[in-house]
Symmetry: C2
DNA sequence: TTGAAAGCGTTACCAC
DNA sequence: GTGGTAACGCTTTCAA
């Protein structure tokens, strides 16, 4: 009988070569093979035989068995609450996940990705299996809901990093990683202040989203401190979808033309720009526009968009570092990390 | 002694409650708990005790142990070769992965995501461990390299779906899922034919990329068949980066102005549009522009972009279905799937 | 340097 | 309906 058991079509998985299959094939003991696989010293002569046997049998280690034995999973999960089924499509999220994934890969960790509708967050299967040593989460939805989800995450006991949240982590297993959206709002506000504006409209989606609050707060703070006469209005679009934003801005412009529109994200700013174009309002001549994120959208518009650049990739990478360190040392080195953002001036503000 | 062992900070992971911990706590056997967890019939009375014990101990099943026992991982991996570290940032990839992830989640499967530089593909850790029942892959780079990677993937023995590849799958464990880029090129060509063009420039990155070849082939085929007098040139940008494309198009426009520019993707088309703008060429009046993908970029430009819409999300979803069916039945129902694309006319072609 | 045995947490199988 | 036992593939421990 050969080392590999026959494939059984009724089984889900093809039977694969195991350590002992390789051992038999190479005429050595299991431990010798195991040592070889884990780069422990093995005599050159034996080493060669093992190497050949592995190649012949196409052996690859079974991570489940290894994990079970070591109580280490070498795997991290990320749950992303988003109302869009194409949750990775958000450039903030795609960059963040890329950064996290790359850092983990460099340490031979695996990243499990799962998106979930905000209201079904608790049902995400990734939360109900112990298969990851640690978790990351991006929450979404009304504050009360998020608070509950945050509390439930804490209760899981695993090391967890939550992105872009306002809540304080009360448990030693939870850390929060954010970008400085408050400062982003301030930076943009201070820049716009120089434009001697009298009226500003802040466009945001109806969705309760923590970063947006900070952006608006920073912006309003600057204007309020500088001059009480500047009129700052908030315009709420039914969603952050292009058409919704465009419509809401268009309707507003039909009534009056402000000096500036600041949108919660660049793509919303692009929608506002389109609305201006359709309303015959020239940007930046009649009206200036700015957004947040600084990913790619700012390049595509004409004029190019003034924006506040988000360090999304670094957010993911940073979370990875924090988590791995937590796993290695048993404690988070920091429980709250805030990365800086940076204003990038484009043509849309003159 | 309590059921849960003390946490040992030197260990990577907190010790968690096991089935037998719960069994002791509830005063029943391990099997009863196991049965309960897996929704097998358990007497109501016992059921309640188990339920409480689980809650008290915060028990969650250990997937490694389960996987080991069942030889089922309930996990699929995807390797994405990309020269950009923020590999998920490509909207085609982010949609594809979202579609795959959501389908798998709905069946309680997990998705492991790993990006890798094209030349380091073989080193991707996800390929060297058995921890996924099946794999998906997006290759990238010169054809010869991709062919070798394709062959190596085949050799892994796991069920595999490769996206957007030209190679025939010779092994029963490999399927290829693509979109009909050839037809996309043709559709766009046929539409442009009505514009009575005499000269067309196709802009593409230097990178060898299988979908692009098909798009160009489809496009050229239509023009060649319709009229040998139409001049079709290919303009190669050093990369698909915005600046690179913009520069290359600008340089070309300095020499001559074609009737149409077709770019390999919408973001490249946006770069071409910007180059026209800078060169004082009016779109679509002096020159028409079109791209491929139909994700979001087409909305942001002004004029909006004519494009060929890619079913990226469905590609991912379809691969998921194929893979799960393959795992269940032991054979792929189809070894080659091609999803249709669709022309979407915007303002950039008049 | 190599080998034998125990055990990680779970489930299939068979008794009761 | 419930419980005991063996086994999944691996690594740690201890002996040779």
């Amino acid at each position: 009988m050969k080392g590999i058991r026959e494939a059984d079509p009724s089984r889900r998985k093809l039977a694969r070569a195991t350590l002992s299959d390789v051992a038999k094939e190479a005429g050595v003991s299991v431990m010798t093979v195991s040592n070889f696989v884990r780069s422990k010293p093995v005599r050159v002569q034996t080493r060669k035989r093992v190497e050949e046997a592995i190649a012949r049998l196409n052996y690859r280690p079974n991570v489940s068995a290894r994990s079970l034995r070591l109580s280490e999973e070498y795997s991290v999960g990320i749950v992303i609450a988003d109302s869009d089924p194409a949750f990775l499509n958000d450039p903030f999220i795609s960059r963040l996940v890329s950064g996290l994934s790359n850092y983990l890969s460099s340490l031979d960790y695996t990243l499990d990705v799962q998106g979930v509708a905000p209201e079904r967050f608790e049902n995400a299967t990734i939360l109900n299996k112990v298969g990851n040593e640690a978790l990351c989460a991006i929450l979404c939805g009304p504050k009360a809901l998020r608070k509950e989800q945050f509390a439930n995450l804490t209760r899981l006991g695993q090391p967890i990093v939550v992105f872009q949240e306002v809540f304080q982590s009360t448990a030693p297993n939870v850390a929060v990683v954010s970008q400085d959206d408050l400062s982003g709002g301030k930076q943009l506000g201070q820049y716009l202040l120089k434009k001697r504006l009298r009226s500003v409209v802040f466009v945001r989606p109806a969705l309760d989203w923590c970063a947006l609050e900070q952006r608006e707060k920073g912006l309003r703070g600057v204007f309020a401190a500088a001059s009480p006469s500047i009129d700052v209005k908030t315009l709420i679009a039914p969603s952050e979808r292009f058409d919704d934003v465009q419509q809401v801005v268009k309707d507003h412009l039909a009534k009056r033309t402000p000096d500036a529109i600041v949108a919660a994200t660049d793509s919303m700013a692009a929608a506002a720009l389109k609305a201006c174009e359709l309303s015959g309002i020239r940007v930046p001549k009649d009206l200036v526009i700015a957004g947040f994120n600084g990913f790619d959208v700012w390049r595509y518009t004409s004029p190019t968009m003034t924006t506040v650049v988000s360090p999304a990739y670094e957010l993911g990478r940073h979370a990875g570092e924090l988590l791995i360190q937590r796993l290695k040392t048993g404690a988070f080195s920091k429980r709250h990390v805030v990365l800086p953002v940076r204003l990038q001036v484009g043509e849309s503000t003159g």
